[in-house]
Symmetry: C2
Subunit: 111 residues, 2 copies
């Protein structure tokens, strides 16, 4: 049976205190997730350090994503994708506070 959905439906109406995470598919070794940010960023000094890989695509809005060791955060616009291998330490330095930033994340390589 084919499951289906609409990625741009059910968006938060205005800013929320927290990012929202919606799992769209979960199968052995792969998980696809929609993330909606409304101005959130990672806490100062916090770095994600994940045991699994994460391929992310920015679909709407805008973000600054900082990878440890790089001089400046990368500015992401709609259509920009990035593969973050396991233990590629990174943080979200900024997301647009004026409109929803929609990410598609494909997590892979988990046990």
């Amino acid at each position: 049976m084919a499951t289906a959905g609409k990625l741009y439906s059910g968006l938060p109406d205005g800013s929320l205190a927290e990012e929202t995470f919606t799992t769209l598919l979960s199968r052995p070794g792969v998980r696809i997730e929609r993330i909606v940010s409304t101005g959130q960023s990672s806490p100062t000094g916090f770095w994600y350090d994940q045991t699994e890989g994460e391929w992310v695509l920015l679909l709407a809005g805008g973000a600054l994503l900082h990878i440890e060791g790089e001089a400046e955060p990368r500015a992401l616009q709609p259509g920009d994708w990035l593969d973050l291998p396991p233990h590629c330490r990174h943080r979200v330095a900024w997301t647009d506070p004026d409109r929803p930033t929609i990410w598609l994340a494909v997590h892979y390589g988990m046990e």
Copy 2:
């Protein structure tokens, strides 16, 4: 090392004879691909019957996707996603001839 790219770059300029397929990530058990259609559809009577699962997201353009056993093809617009489990027989009945139709496909569950 983080690899990166732009999903909406390098689009065909006008219609092409064939769909274009670009692998964006290939890891054990998962492969992420961009597919660009410019009016192509599956041959009459042809059904995809895949041993792996395929999660597809339509990002631009428009398509009609027919799943075997369903009375009518499903009309897909930007933001629509669909999970096609292994052996879910399907065909692309139509893609928009007037603008590129961009799909993101996540293949999973391969050996």
